[in-house]
């Protein structure tokens, strides 16, 4: 009997019990849809991260105090106080480095008239906008003399400016109070939007790092150093040189570990991509379990079906079906259930990710290879879980089967 004929017979047999077939399929539908939707969410997040790296520039080097690349034991490393203003100054002369900015930050209440807002006030240097490729919308960025003199000037992020002064209003020249000290607003940054971790990057304000250290936080050490190179090609070489210079500054002998961490933005993004990928595989494997359960459902129904159709099997054997014809028929029935279910599941998975993208504004992207994997997996589930019932059917003794009540 040709495979086409077997397929026709299988579809006819499934059509005789539509409700049962549909319910059995449902297991596969949900399983495949879940896998597709999960993978779509994961790859969407990954794509977004990659997009952000491209936008924020691949020529960034971030230097942070403490060493948190040497294993889990020193998790608190980020809080170590090992970076000084002199370190930032020293990095300016490293070949390949274009801009350097010391950074520090403090949480502060900012008050303008009767409006007030708690935000993250970042202390940075004059080159900071060049490093982050960030432009000023109103007013201007502060200058060198402001940094040297620790002037009480502030540049607002657009969210903060909107909250304090209203949308579209230019607050340049206004006085606001930060931790009860008067600061002159000299500029407002253009909007930058959400970061890859979902934070509002515009909910911030910038002041010279010297001002933050002397007037607001009282810290003697800086929180980090942002460095950018002239081109993205220099970034790896420059990172090595930055490390070398800092080791010299900190008098770290050979064989000793760094007391700081210097990483490129790409490194950091890679870590995050890796995390997202792990999360995606985790979610997909949980969804995969439902596929497995769907497969067991198929096996269950096929076993019931074989018992129920014992006389039919006996008759088919009596009129000349060989064992393998019967085996193939039941196997094809199982595979048809799983493949049809898988097909509908793909549609549903696409629908789900579309819904997530449209209504929850969450990036979701269905990778085409996930579709192939899901279909392949569905077929394998059908063959795997269909084989045992099919073999049971094929090995029936025709005499016994015909007598079966």
């Amino acid at each position: 009997m040709s495979i086409f004929m077997t397929l026709r017979i299988a579809i006819k047999a499934l059509g005789r019990n539509k409700m049962r077939t549909a319910l059995t399929m449902l297991g596969m539908i949900i399983g495949v849809a879940a896998v597709i939707a999960m993978v779509a969410l994961g790859s969407g997040a990954q794509a977004q991260i990659e997009e952000q790296i491209k936008q924020s520039g691949t020529n960034l080097i971030m230097v942070m105090p403490g060493n948190f690349s040497s294993g889990g034991v020193r998790m608190g490393g980020g809080n170590a106080v090992t970076l000084k203003t002199e370190d930032a100054t020293a990095l300016r002369d490293v070949p390949g480095v274009q801009y350097v900015s010391a950074t520090t930050q403090t949480r502060a209440q900012v008050v303008a008239g009767n409006q007030n807002w708690s935000t993250n006030v970042q202390g940075v240097d004059v080159d900071f906008p060049n490093i982050r490729l960030w432009t000023v919308k109103f007013g201007s960025w502060f200058g060198d003399q402001d940094v040297r003199g620790a002037s009480k000037v502030i540049v607002l992020g657009s969210s903060v400016a909107n909250t304090l002064f209203g949308e579209g209003v230019d607050p340049t020249g206004q006085i606001i109070r930060v931790k009860n000290q008067p600061f002159t607003v000299v500029g407002v940054m253009g909007p930058k939007g959400q970061s890859s971790t979902g934070q509002d990057q515009d909910d911030t304000a910038f002041a010279p790092y010297t001002t933050i250290m002397k007037k607001l936080s009282g810290n003697q050490n800086i929180g980090g150093i942002s460095v950018s190179t002239a081109s993205a090609d220099d970034v790896l070489e420059a990172t090595e040189k930055v490390k070398q210079v800092l080791r010299e500054c900190h008098k770290i002998g050979p064989g000793m570990e760094d007391d700081f961490t210097a990483r490129t933005l790409e490194d950091m993004a890679a870590t995050r991509t890796e995390m997202t990928r792990t999360m995606t595989s985790l979610l997909a494997s949980i969804a995969g379990v439902s596929l497995l359960v769907g497969g067991i459902g198929i096996m269950n129904i096929m076993l019931v079906s074989v018992t129920e159709r014992t006389r039919e099997i006996g008759l088919r054997l009596a009129i000349g079906a060989r064992g393998r014809d019967v085996l193939l028929q039941f196997l094809v029935e199982a595979v048809v259930i799983s493949l049809f279910g898988g097909g509908i599941g793909i549609g549903l998975g696409y629908g789900l990710s579309w819904g997530v993208r449209t209504f929850m504004e969450w990036p979701a992207l269905v990778p085409i290879n996930a579709v192939f994997v899901a279909v392949g997996f569905a077929a394998i589930v059908g063959v795997f879980f269909g084989f045992y019932p099919a073999r049971k059917a094929a090995s029936l003794d025709p005499i016994e089967a015909l007598r079966f009540e």
Binding site: K12, L315, L317, R322
Partner: protein, 263 residues
């Protein structure tokens, strides 16, 4: 007779192992069937007649002995070879009809043709052949009915058509009238008689009813795994004449289902 027998068995035995006990269901049967014979096989339960039919029908293999079907020894054939023999040379008719549910009469009759591995028969040829045999059992007008829309007698006629569709050497009928009333039984036996007489098809009917056995040309009786009686039937019954003599059916022979399906 110079003609080659359709079936020729020699010293056929079949033993079953039931735990420690060996059951000797068939204890050496030798038997020839000539083409065109209509054989009635009877015997009490446990006489070995069912075992004999399973062996003749190639559903089972003998413990020892020879079995020639159309001159070919099938006693030691493999499972797949037996399936092929069943498909091509044997037509089965069962007590319970064994039609596929929710499948039209036509599709039921076509079923054996689907399992023929050699002939790449086209769908149109299969339809033609199936309609031909449905006409032979006078069921052409109902070929699109489902089994549950047919009466018992009609279902059995579809089953006979299914047995005929592959042009078998012999039709084996196991208690074909066991589930039918008297009138329908006579009708069904009439069809066997007609096919036997007009088309020359060899028929073997197994029954435990003596009056059903009398429709055949040859009477065989089993007891304790052996043939104890094997003789020609002298006073053969004729189903067609009997049917004409019977009073017409009291109720409409069509079951309610046929009407329901028609609307």
């Amino acid at each position: 007779m110079a003609q080659q027998p359709v079936i020729s068995v020699r010293d056929l035995t079949r033993n079953y192992q039931l735990g420690e006990v060996t059951v000797r269901a068939l204890r050496g049967v030798s038997f020839d069937v000539q083409p065109g014979e209509f054989i009635s096989i009877t015997g009490p339960s446990g006489s070995g007649k069912s075992t004999f039919m399973h062996l003749i029908g190639c559903l089972d293999k003998p413990t020892s002995g020879e079995y020639f079907l159309d001159g070919k020894n099938v006693a030691k054939a493999s499972k797949d070879e037996l399936a092929l023999v069943r498909n091509q040379k044997i037509g089965f008719v069962f007590q319970g009809f064994n039609l596929l549910k929710r499948t039209t009469a036509l599709d039921n009759v076509e079923l054996p043709l689907l399992y023929n591995p050699k002939s790449g028969m086209k769908a149109s040829d299969r339809h033609k052949k199936a309609l031909e045999v449905l006409a032979a059992v006078k069921m052409s007008d109902r070929h699109h009915h489902l089994p549950n829309q047919l009466s018992g007698g009609q279902q059995q006629r579809v089953a006979i058509a299914r047995a005929l569709v592959t042009n078998p050497s012999i039709i084996l009928a196991d208690e074909p009238t066991g589930a039918l009333d008297t009138r329908t039984s006579v009708e069904v036996m009439g069809i066997f008689q007609r096919l036997n007489k007009e088309l020359g098809i060899t028929v073997m009917v197994i029954t435990h009813e003596m009056d059903i056995a009398e429709y055949g040309t040859r009477f065989v009786r089993f007891r304790d795994g052996k043939v104890v009686v094997d003789q020609a039937i002298t006073k053969r019954r004729n189903a067609e004449d009997e049917l004409a003599a019977l009073p017409p059916p009291e109720v409409d022979p069509e079951p309610a289902g046929a009407h329901a399906g028609g609307h």
